[in-house]
Subunit: 322 residues, 2 copies
Amino acid sequence: MPPNIYEVARKAGVSIATVSRVLNDTGPVSPATRERVLAAMQALGYRPSALGRALAGKRREAIGLVFPDLAGPYHAGVISGIEDLAMREHQALLILGTHAREQAEELVRELASRVDGLVITGRTLSDQAVAELWQEGIRIVLLARPKIGEIPCVQSENVEPARRLAGSLLDRGLQPLFLGDPEASPDVAERWRGFLEAHRERGRSALPPIPTDLRQEGGYRAGLALLRGEPRPRALFCANDETALGVYQAAAQLGLRIPEELAVSGWDDIPQAAYAVPPLTTVCQPIFELGFEAGRMLVELIQGHPVQDLCLPSEVVWRGST
Amino acid sequence: MPPNIYEVARKAGVSIATVSRVLNDTGPVSPATRERVLAAMQALGYRPSALGRALAGKRREAIGLVFPDLAGPYHAGVISGIEDLAMREHQALLILGTHAREQAEELVRELASRVDGLVITGRTLSDQAVAELWQEGIRIVLLARPKIGEIPCVQSENVEPARRLAGSLLDRGLQPLFLGDPEASPDVAERWRGFLEAHRERGRSALPPIPTDLRQEGGYRAGLALLRGEPRPRALFCANDETALGVYQAAAQLGLRIPEELAVSGWDDIPQAAYAVPPLTTVCQPIFELGFEAGRMLVELIQGHPVQDLCLPSEVVWRGST
DNA sequence: TTGTATGCGTTATCAG
DNA sequence: CTGATAACGCATACAA
C-alpha cells in the first residue's frame, strides 16, 4: 500500500538508482533531478522501507536491550537512557526480558537477528553464551556486568563506594549487616566485596550476607526477621533502595526509630530515597546515563569506531537514615 | 555470515521451497526429506532471517509500544505486561517514547513500518494523527486513552472509583482538594470527572484542581505550598501515588500527622504505596494486565480476529492514610 | 511430493 | 551524471 521506490522513480522520470542516491546522498546527482526526485517523494509521501533497506544493506538501524526482567525503577531508568540515545541516533529500540527462562539464549539470538547490536545486562545469559554470540560477530556492549573477553562494558562504581559507606558505619562503632544476595547480580557482588574490604582494612570480620531479592518486600521480610532477633542489628547495609525501604517498613511496624535505633543505607538513589522519612542514605548511581552511555558505546561499535570501557562514578549520599 | 535457506537446501539436497515448507509447515513434505532438512538445519545452526521473512510475507512478527515517556513505575509496569505477552506470542517488542517531540508522528510512522501493529498510550499523538494512521491500515490498540472512531481500546476504570473515593471523603466531612492536572493525561481527566460527580451528587461544589506533574517532586512542591496556606486543606486527593508520596514528604517536613491532620489518597497502588508510613489509601489499577491485555488485543487484531473494547476493574484500597 | 521462478523494497556495482 | 541489474533471505504461485 505505501509507495515504494519504483513509484517515486516513475513519478520523477528517473531510475530507482537515482532515487536511492538522493535518498542516501551517495553518488552524484544533478541539482535539477535531485529536485524532481525530492518533489516526487514529497508528493507521494514516500517513506523508505526499513525492511528492504536492512535486507539490502547490512544496517538494521535498530539496537536491542536484554534485561533479566523489567520491573523496578532501576530497569525503568536504564531503559529511559538507552531509549533517549536510540532516538537521537535514529535507531529503533527492541527490548527483551529473559526472566530466567531456559530459552533465553534462543530468544536473544532471535533478537540479535533483528538488530545491529545488543546491550546485555546483569544476570541474563551465561558468560559463555555471551562470548559465543560475540565470536559469531554480534556486536555487544555489556551493561552492569563484569568484562567478558574483549567485549566492551559500561558499569558504575560499586566496590569503592561500598567500601567507604561500610567503613564509615564501622568507624561510628556500628556493625552493619549486609542485606542482599551477592549471587543475585554482579552489581550486588561488587558491593559485597567493598563491604568486605572495609572490614578487612579495619581488621574486623564481616557478618555473612543475608540473601534477599531486590524488591521492597524482600527487605521488609528480612528486616522483620532480623529486627525481631537477638542481638538486634543496629545497622543494615542494603543492596538497593527498594530493600532499604522495605526495612523502613519493618522498622516502623516494630516501632524502631531510624536512625536513632537503626541505621539504614540503600543503593541507587531512586526518587523515593530522597523523599522517604527520614531521607535515605544511599549511593547515587547515574542510572539514566548508564543506559545512555551503553547505547552510545554500542552505536560507536556498530560504526566501527574503537570504544573504551566506561566506569561511571557513584557517590555516597549521606542523608538522615544513618 | 549466518547460514541462509540456500545453504540448508544444498546440504539437504532439496530446493529452498522444500526447506521453507518444513520450516513453516505449509504444504506436504515426505517424512524422509523432512528429516533430512531438519538435520541440515540442525547441523548448520540455521535460523531464518526475520527480515527476509518479513519482506517476503507480510508478517513482521513484532509489535510496537508508543509512550509519552518511560519514567516511573506505571510505565515500567505496562511495559512488563506487554513484554510478557510479546514473548508468549513470539513477537518482538519495539518501544518508543515521544517525549512531546514535534517529530512524534514521524517517529511513530517509522516505528509502524517495522511492526505489525501499535499500542498507543495516553498523551502521545493527537487523536487526529492516530485516526490518520488507522485509516492507512495500521493496526492500533489504544491504551489508557479514550476511544477514537473504531479503534479498539483498553483501559481501566477511573470515573467510578474516583467518585467513590471522593464521595467517601466528603461523607466524612472532609473537603478534598484534587492534586493533578486533568490536562496531563486522559486518565487524570477521568479521575477528575469522578471527583466532580461525587461533589455534584451531594450538592456540593468542588475546589478547582491543583495542576502538578505526576512525579513525586510535583506532589512535594504542591503539598508544601498548600499545607502552608490558609485555610490548610484537611484532605488531598492525588492523581497518582507518586504525587501522594510527595505530599507525605511535605507533611513530614511540616510536622503534620497523617491521617489525623491530613488525609491523603493516591492512585495506581504501586509497590511503595503499601509500604509507605502510614500505608497509602489508593486505587488499585491492574497495571501489568493493562499492558498484557493491550498486547493480546493487538495480536488478535493482527490475526484478523474481532476484538472488543476492554475496561479493567480498579478498586479503592483503604489503608491508613485516610 | 518436489522444484522453478518471481516478488518483496532497498542498496550497490557496474556500464554507459 | 544516470540507468540496468544483481544481490539480500525468504515465501509462494505455478509447474512438473
